[in-house]
């Protein structure tokens, strides 16, 4: 199938927060819904986002609509910020493109038992202590060297392996999505190449838009939810953004390649080769699910090791009784088997979240007990130098988006275009003017991640909140950042 063309007449605004894309092409199995305000929608039309929402609607076994969150931008196959559910108990497919190469790229928020104001002159020292312990940037390795046996355990047990090895503490696993490990993991379907790429990368940040950011809690919107999370105004937090590193990237690469033939064999005709897929019930579909889940476990172990490094750095700089507690850890590139209400009955769905975050409401059994009365924490990082938000999920999200919201500010400008407009000196000066300390793996990377390259996170959050998908809990102001 050729790439889809989407005429303007195919879209119309439903309300202030939602745009509908009609299933005008025969291959589309449902409509598209973009959660986008008037300010955010034009960019989705200008790049390929809107077309990609329509393309995703062609996936066999699609249930409901192909969805896009307010931070959505052009990706490959799926838009970044795309959500799509397929019928896991029927003929629904699983598509690696609906997860992304960085399987379980995600974020975790830590809160310190110190106020941000206590850092003062020691902010740079803390940043340097973290930078010394967490390898960043391009190249290979620098992380924990895993034996074949350890790798097998990491793939199977995820964050639990890391905690058992001494890289965590009681309470960490409860505060991870899926307890820090997906039970669908099947390491047998993780190739030797993937293991080789990841063998020395556990505990590393990577590059691109990955970061560790130190923040001050700037404003509390929901005192009850904030208290449950241990957040108070002026508090010190740390946000970690990274994923499954080269291991996950290779797993997706391996399975997208393998699914090229499977897609044809099952008779699927899709508008983008990156949407290659297979029925969940097929050997190929099960193989990818198992490998994807194992890679997700690697990512949770990765963020757990980085957490350990942050705890060590904090103690080094502020004393042994200074401590980071894990608030929560979320995946934003993953496919999960979840039970949802569809047309009045419960169905098992495969929910693909590609640059989108799970956001379950209060009372949901998968929300940890400590947050069950308020809802699942959600973290929306802004761009470097702008605010991040803490939200909680709502019942409306469960109904409209399979319990999903955006994952960040969303990129607005290409890396090339950003480098043409800015240089490192300008970016550093702008951050210094806000008293934000920076350590970066490369000057080029720093420029490409400038706030000007991203959408307005306030507008993105306003849209998810306005649409009823989430509630604000707190805003976090950056005070220091490490970029890969």
């Amino acid at each position: 199938m050729k790439p889809l063309h989407l005429p303007p007449s195919a879209t119309h605004r439903l309300d202030r927060w939602r745009v509908r894309i009609e299933p005008i092409h025969e291959a589309m199995r449902g409509p598209g819904i973009a959660f986008a305000s008037d300010r955010l929608w034009p960019a989705m039309q200008a790049d390929e986002t809107a077309t990609q929402i329509a393309a995703v609607a062609c996936l066999p076994g699609l249930v409901g609509a192909s969805l896009a969150m307010p931070d959505a931008h052009q990706g490959y196959g799926f838009p970044i910020g795309g959500v799509a559910a397929t019928d896991a108990a029927g003929e629904g497919v699983i598509s690696p493109g609906g997860v992304g190469f960085d399987i379980n790229c995600g974020v975790r928020l830590l809160v310190a038992n110190r106020a941000a104001g206590k850092l003062k002159r020691r902010k740079e020292a803390l940043l340097a202590a973290i930078f010394a312990r967490v390898p960043v940037g391009v190249g290979h390795g620098g992380g924990l060297e895993l034996s074949a046996r350890d790798m097998e355990a990491v793939l199977a047990r995820g964050a639990a392996w890391a905690v058992a090895q001494g890289y965590g503490e009681d309470g960490d696993l409860e505060c991870c999505e899926a307890g820090g490990a997906m039970r669908e993991a099947d390491p047998e379907h993780v190739s030797e190449r993937a293991r080789a790429r990841g063998a020395s990368q556990l505990g590393t940040l990577g590059s691109g838009n990955h970061f560790v950011e130190l923040q001050a809690v700037d404003q509390i919107f929901d005192a009850t939810a904030a208290a449950a999370m241990g957040l108070e105004e002026g508090g010190l937090t740390a946000l970690v953004h990274t994923g499954s590193r080269g291991l996950g990237h290779q797993v997706c690469t391996d399975h997208v390649a393998a699914l090229q033939q499977a897609t044809k064999r099952y008779g699927f005709d899709l508008p983008d080769r990156q949407l290659a897929c297979a029925p969940l019930s097929s050997p190929e579909g099960r193989a990818y699910l198992g490998a994807m889940a194992a890679s997700a476990n690697f990512a949770w172990a990765n963020r757990q090791l980085i957490t350990h490094a942050l705890r060590q750095a904090l103690a080094e700089v502020l004393g042994d009784d200074a401590h980071f507690r894990l608030v929560y850890d979320l995946a934003h590139n993953v496919a999960k088997l979840e039970r949802h209400q569809v047309g009045g009955r419960e169905r098992l769905l495969c929910v693909h979240r590609k640059g989108a975050t799970r956001a379950f409401p209060a009372g949901h059994p998968e929300v940890p007990e400590r947050y069950r009365a308020v809802g699942q924490p959600v973290f929306i990082p802004g761009s470097m130098g702008t605010a991040s938000y803490v939200l909680v999920g709502t019942p409306e999200a469960l109904t409209e988006t399979w319990g999903s919201v955006c994952h960040g500010a969303g990129r607005a400008r290409s890396r090339t275009a950003t480098r043409k407009r800015l240089d490192a000196r300008q970016v550093l000066a702008a951050l210094a003017a806000k008293d934000i300390a920076v350590q970066a793996g490369s000057q080029r990377g720093l420029v490409e991640e400038a706030p000007e390259a991203y959408k307005d996170v306030d507008e993105v959050v306003e849209t998810v909140v306005g649409a009823g998908l989430a509630r604000r809990v707190a805003r976090l102001r950056p005070i220091a950042v490490i970029k890969g």
Binding site: Y76, V138, H140, R193, V256
Partner: protein, 139 residues
């Protein structure tokens, strides 16, 4: 057609357009472009060579497999590919050499950390003057 390449903009990632008198030439230029992405403009050097042999279900698949091989060599073996001399036989099999050097974390620090080679927007176009290819990278 003499060979060459340019980098393409993509909202979050990067693309490569390359061309050559034949498919081998176009793919070799894609490898050169990939080296620039991985190490930065002018940062890579040819110090060593490694033999390469690949197959693919079609020419697009061959392009993906070639750049993925270069990415694997970097991440798993710390070896940076900056160029290639390639030929494709009548059966579509690729053989040749990859040219490069051990990755240097200082000299190559301005390169991008490429996650993968995508299948999105893949193009292998045969024309009267030669072959043109396009491929997008997840950065």
């Amino acid at each position: 057609m003499t060979g060459g390449f340019r980098l393409l903009s993509h909202t979050a990632d990067l693309g490569i357009e390359s061309w050559g008198p034949d498919l081998g030439g176009a793919l070799a230029q894609a490898v050169r472009a990939f080296g620039v992405v991985l190490a930065g403009e002018g940062a890579g050097r040819v110090a060593e060579e490694r033999r390469v042999g690949l197959t693919g279900d079609d020419e697009e698949a061959l392009l993906v497999a070639l750049l993925q091989e270069a990415l694997y060599l970097l991440e798993a073996e710390g070896w940076l590919t900056v160029g290639a001399a390639l030929s494709i036989d009548d059966a579509g099999a690729l053989t040749g050499v990859l040219l490069g050097e051990p990755f240097d974390e200082v000299r190559h620090a301005e390169g991008h950390a490429v996650k993968a080679v995508t299948w999105h927007g893949l193009l292998v176009e045969h024309g009267a003057k030669g072959v043109r290819v396009e491929v997008f990278l997840d950065v």
